[in-house]
Symmetry: C2
Subunit: 404 residues, 2 copies
């Protein structure tokens, strides 16, 4: 089905990358410091949270990336988001970069920093500094899963994925790790993803591929519809595949890479949805026939963020009315009489509100762990997919019972 071969190895699947994940004591028992390092300089692209209360590591990494020609990697801690921490937070983030670059023997603008966890508390810098020093010592190709563990907060499983594909006569690899889960305060469920490749590609095209890929993956999922202070997606390409540099968008090579990247990002994004707090079902929403991809995505988002749709699916209720209402307030142009809605392959409502479905088939469809809602607006070519999870009582339990 895919021309991409799924392989093991996560972020160190592509040659030239090393990883580390250790416990330094920010959290009581679990791993809390990760380092990702490329043995050679890599071009990089990143997307950061648009939240105005962006955390210190986000502000600092954005600043570094704005001027750096290449980078070598990133240091990440979990257990503390270093958010809402003012000037001292900025100093602490700078100090993390200083420690990791000194130990690695690279210049201070070659590494980025990322944090996730409690907000409004200062980092325990003695532990963090010792931890980074230890982590650098353990950097190795086989430490990808340790790194994936060290970035977790409320996640219940590590999220890693990698693919390899043939491009002309070269093997190209893309690997990644992510963390997500619904927000649980004071651990904000920061959505973090770190993706590596050995491809040789220009920075401009790497940015372009990442933007499209993130729009179609991490920007097309919703666990609870909120953005955090620390969200970040980083993509590095270190060129060790030795392919001819990709610097034109209208080439087979760029399309091949972009599609593979989208596949990796989408797979990681779906893992985040499946691990949503209290989630029991993965809901895939497909909107076809919208005026544009943007409209289709807005329609998907309105449906996917609707508490009522999410609760109906939890209750296995084929409630097409709630879907139509969400479409109605999405701001997307459509004529309700033209709308067709399917649950899986079972039509639920047709044009002119024609209701004609097989209850048994529908009941069976709704009992699955993965449910696809397909909506056709019958207007244009706009198409988008979106992933969300159902809303269960467990979500309330997790989020109401935590005490700050």
């Amino acid at each position: 089905m895919h021309m991409y071969t799924e392989i093991q190895g996560g972020i160190t699947a592509p040659p030239g990358y090393l990883a580390a994940g250790i416990h330094c004591g920010i959290k009581r028992y679990k791993k809390d410091i990760a380092v990702l390092f490329s043995e050679v300089p890599a071009v990089a692209a990143a997307t950061f949270t648009t939240n105005r209360a962006a955390a210190a590591p986000v502000l600092l990494s954005r600043e570094i990336l704005n001027t750096a020609q290449s980078i070598r990697g990133i240091v990440i801690n979990s257990g503390n988001a270093n958010a809402c921490t003012g000037d001292r937070g900025m100093d602490d983030a700078r100090s993390m970069i200083q420690t990791v670059t000194e130990k690695l023997g690279v210049s201070a603008d070659q590494m980025l920093v990322s944090s996730t966890g409690i907000i409004g508390e200062y980092l325990p810098m003695d532990k963090v500094t010792t931890g980074i020093t230890e982590a650098v010592k353990t950097l190795a190709r086989d430490q990808n899963t340790a790194a994936a563990e060290a970035i977790m907060t409320t996640d219940t499983f590590t999220k890693e994925f990698a693919v390899r594909f043939r491009m002309n006569d070269t093997d190209v690899t893309i690997g990644g790790m992510a963390k997500g889960s619904g927000m649980i305060a004071p651990n904000m469920a920061t959505m973090l993803a770190f993706v590596t490749s050995d491809i040789a590609i220009s920075e401009a095209l790497l940015k372009r591929a990442l933007k499209t890929g993130v729009d179609r993956s991490f920007n097309s999922i919703s666990v609870d519809g909120e953005t955090s202070t620390n969200d970040m997606v980083l993509l590095m390409a270190n060129g060790t595949a030795n392919n001819i540099l990709i610097d034109q968008a209208n080439t087979t090579e760029f399309v091949l890479f972009s599609n593979a990247l989208e596949y990796v990002l989408t797979t990681l994004a779906k893992m985040i949805v499946v691990d949503g707090e209290g989630a029991t079902k993965l809901i895939e929403i497909e909107v076809n026939g919208a005026d544009s991809e943007l409209s289709a995505r807005a329609a998907c988002r309105a449906i996917g963020n609707s508490n009522l749709v999410k609760t109906a699916i939890h209750g296995e209720d084929p409630n097409w009315g709630r879907i139509l209402v969400a479409l109605g307030y999405s701001g997307v142009p459509f004529d309700p009489r033209e709308v067709e809605i399917y649950f899986g392959s079972v039509p639920v409502i047709g044009k002119n509100y024609t209701i004609n479905f097989n209850h048994d088939e529908l009941r069976k469809e709704l009992s699955r762990d993965q449910i696809t809602l397909t909506v056709n607006l019958n207007r244009g070519d706009g198409f988008s997919k979106f992933w969300t999870c159902d809303l269960s009582k467990e979500y309330i339990t997790i989020n109401a019972q935590y005490r700050t």
Copy 2:
């Protein structure tokens, strides 16, 4: 505190209005047809849902109100929203108006129509026609509560409020009834409000007062953040108070009326919030110091629609981080270091993220049934209030267990 005297009588508190509320069989046992009628022609203003899947009665009432100089009232049914019902739904809505205007002996463009309940099903028109005929026969000044009952869907109590105030040497009365509650499908929790006054006022100023009042009341509440196919607020003024016609905005009289109207609308809106599905606490959100009232309202809405804030309050958790994060993605300009947050009168976070509160006081504040969250952005004069309820497991139970 207020110069307005709270009185009994709801929508028939102002002279010249009659009401009816009866059971016709759309619902199994409960009242489902209401009529509101002014003995003399009244100027009217209304706001309708912006949902693109607006129901037939909304489309028809909007059309009538666009051209009518005055109206006499409205016929309302509950139990069936007449939404997503296509041409037949439009015919049914027209038929309801035809029946009620014939029985009342007024012309067909003098009455409006409104529906709430199940969507995607046709009205049982035989029952509805008989019901309207019966309702008209029972029209009386003391039937206000019967009417308020007849517009309920999942509401657990009737929502009525009326005030009287002195304007120069005249008594002026404003009365209203509403229905709300979270959406429960296929009964969409349409938010309906019908407000009457005996004031003499120009249509232009009535519209203006309603727009401001609705923005500060029904548009400043959230139960589950969704808009329905049938939302409508109607305001009628029949002039029986015999005051000198108000036709200038910059007069004491207009300000007096506008404030009284806002008080009535706000009181009804809060009743809807309190009756939210599974709600155990009324949350009042105040944002001060924003760039504008619009910014303040957007900030309020982001906080009030946040599942995480609502769940935290349910768990009596003073989670200022979630409030700051919601502010961060609201799109409203602010500097997080300038933000101050209070729970009740207890400061939770001050400028530069200063945390310094008395845990016991805070715990006491959070245990109340009504909680005020005050946020000061310390930028400008923009101020807004917003009301929402907490998010409990009961919400999930109600919305997941219903079977269409």
